[in-house]
């Protein structure tokens, strides 16, 4: 187990605290649970009758074809989109406990800020006037950049980064949030194999620190090797459980249609 980060301490305290509350409490603290949930977008149902839970420290992949509602599920989890039906409980987690990595295309990459400023944005609650940051926060930002191999790029503008470097930057910002639940929407899309490996290692590190990981992924091989739990979305339904039980040839065939292996080339990665 990776030793104490701020979050690790928090997770430990959480366990101690709930123990005092008794068994029932210990089971639900930090657990995100959906019960018979349904979501709609623009009046159309996206998925329904979804039940399942993300326990603290779990590592879950969300998979399914394009448009099946993976991003929608993330928005529901983070409380940004209300459910049309059913309930969601977050076991005492508030908005500040979530760290989020959006699908890259919704970010304005021409905005004139530097890599360092973007990373400091992850700690925007701790910064002062004109975004001034004290030494500790700056040090954390530098460490985060080093962790994702961007230390030489700190003063460049974000518009000057390649897609892969930019994705590394988003991971560095996520490091700054020090969040308990980490939500990733297609974090490895458009990245080469070494970058994917690096960032996946970082995700595994977070998992080892006791954080809850929820990630939308398209690479079945990656899911099989790294993610013990899965939510597979298909035709408005969710299949939720342990990855080896859920990812059978039959369910894959159903979820992704005709192709035997929907991403034959990705098998070569990792």
């Amino acid at each position: 187990m990776v030793a104490a980060s701020g979050l690790h301490d928090r997770a430990m305290r959480g366990v101690v605290g709930t123990d005092r509350m008794g068994r029932g409490g210990a089971m639900t603290h930090g657990t995100i649970r959906l019960e018979n949930a349904a979501a709609t977008m623009g009046g159309q149902p996206v998925w329904q009758h979804v039940s399942g839970s993300f326990s603290p420290g779990s590592m879950t992949a969300i998979a399914g074809a394009n448009g099946t509602g993976k991003s929608t599920l993330l928005r529901v989890i983070m409380g940004e989109l209300p459910l049309a039906l059913g309930t969601i409980t977050r076991g005492g987690l508030g908005p500040r406990d979530f760290g989020y990595l959006p699908q890259a295309r919704i970010i304005d990459r021409n905005f004139p800020i530097s890599v360092t400023d973007m990373v400091l944005g992850g700690a925007w609650r701790q910064t002062g006037a004109f975004g001034g940051a004290d030494r500790t926060v700056r040090l954390r930002a530098a460490t985060a950049l080093r962790r994702v191999n961007l230390e030489g790029q700190a003063e460049r503008m974000i518009s000057a980064l390649s897609a892969g470097q930019f994705q590394r930057l988003l991971f560095a910002r996520l490091l700054m949030t020090d969040a308990q639940v980490i939500v990733l929407d297609e974090p490895f899309t458009a990245l080469d194999a070494p970058t994917t490996q690096d960032l996946l290692a970082l995700v595994c590190e977070w998992h080892a620190q006791g954080r809850t990981i929820i990630a939308v992924l398209h690479d079945i091989h990656q899911i099989r090797t790294c993610f013990p739990d899965i939510v597979l979305l298909h035709a408005g339904q969710a299949t939720w459980g342990r990855t080896p039980d859920i990812l059978t040839p039959v369910t894959l065939q159903r979820a992704y249609g005709g192709a035997r292996d929907p991403w034959p080339e990705t098998g070569m990665q990792a």
């Binding site: 928005r75 983070m78 940004e80 508030g94 908005p95 500040r96 979530f98 760290g99 989020y100 959006p102 919704i106 970010i107 304005d108 905005f111 004139p112 800020i113 530097s114 400023d117 973007m118 400091l120 944005g121 925007w124 910064t127 006037a129 004109f130 975004g131 503008m157 974000i158 910002r173 949030t177 969040a179 939500v183």
Partner: protein, 283 residues
């Protein structure tokens, strides 16, 4: 006449010139940084729309006060500007129209309404004042208002700086990490409105937005860093105020348009000479 006296005499001899100088320097300082943010948020048109939206509010203030009263017109302008900002936000959320499209239809309505109200009760001179301002007629209370607005602008910008920038670059991240993105957006629109109201007395509804947009566009040609960009934008507006007033004094031209045109000249010069302007586009 020496160069020094050309620069110095107008301000040494006339109180109204000194007040006009203080007014334009103050306006430039506040409006410049706001203009940069407005452009980076791709909301240039919205600044324009807001400046028109202020008009009916100011006109109603004019009616209630029974004449050109800065306080009444300023308050009216702020209420109307914020009202239109809220309304346009609501409309764009409820319908498929983009925010700037809904702004465009609001501002034409506002402009017509404002002109109608002022011309129904006031003289043509009043109408001219409202539309184009009277920078040479600025009095002490008007200067206090402008100073207060500029101070508030810089203070508020510095406080909400980081979240405002984050909300701009990556609204999804702000929303999802529990930030009140909408709150910062509204605070920023509030800054736009009060700066337009500040500029309104000096430059009129139609031109106050010029002091916001043109220096910002100039500054964007010279630097790619946000903080220097805002400082440069403010500086450009302040310098243009000084040069514009001198030009208007020596050549007997209207002061407000001279200031805005000086901004434009600085912009064109930058466009030609800056490394990211036309030179870059050609090569």
């Amino acid at each position: 006449m020496s160069i020094l006296s050309t620069l110095w005499d107008p301000f040494a001899s006339f109180g109204f010139m000194r007040r006009a100088l203080v007014a334009s320097v103050t306006l430039g300082m506040g409006a410049g940084p706001v203009g940069v943010m407005l452009q980076l948020r791709r909301m240039s048109l919205i600044g324009d729309a807001m400046s028109h939206a202020i008009l009916p509010g100011a006109a109603i203030g004019f009616l209630l006060a029974g004449g050109l009263s800065l306080t009444a017109m300023g308050l009216g302008g702020i209420v109307a500007g914020l009202g239109v900002a809220l309304l346009a936000g609501l409309v764009s959320r409820r319908t498929q129209l983009a925010e700037d499209a809904s702004f465009a239809s609001f501002y034409l309505t506002s402009l017509a309404l404002g002109v109608l109200i002022v011309s129904a009760r006031g003289s043509n001179i009043d109408l001219l004042h409202v539309l184009f301002g009277t920078i040479l007629g600025i009095d002490a209370p008007a200067l206090y208002l402008m100073g207060g607005i500029t101070t508030l602008t810089i203070a508020l910008l510095s406080i909400i700086w980081r979240p405002l920038v984050m909300e701009c670059v990556d609204p999804g991240f702000m929303r999802m990490t529990g930030g009140q993105g909408g709150l910062y957006h509204m605070a920023f629109l509030f800054l736009v409105v009060i700066n337009l109201v500040a500029g309104f007395e000096a430059l009129g509804t139609l031109m106050s937005v010029g002091m916001m947009m043109v220096p910002a566009a100039t500054a964007r040609l010279w630097t790619r860093r946000l903080l220097p960009m805002m400082a440069l934008s403010a500086l450009t507006g302040m310098v243009a105020g000084l040069i514009g007033l001198l030009v208007s004094y020596h050549f007997r031209l209207a002061a407000g348009p001279s200031i805005i045109l000086t901004c434009s000249v600085l912009y064109v010069l930058s466009l030609v000479t800056s490394p990211t302007g036309l030179r870059a586009a050609r090569s």
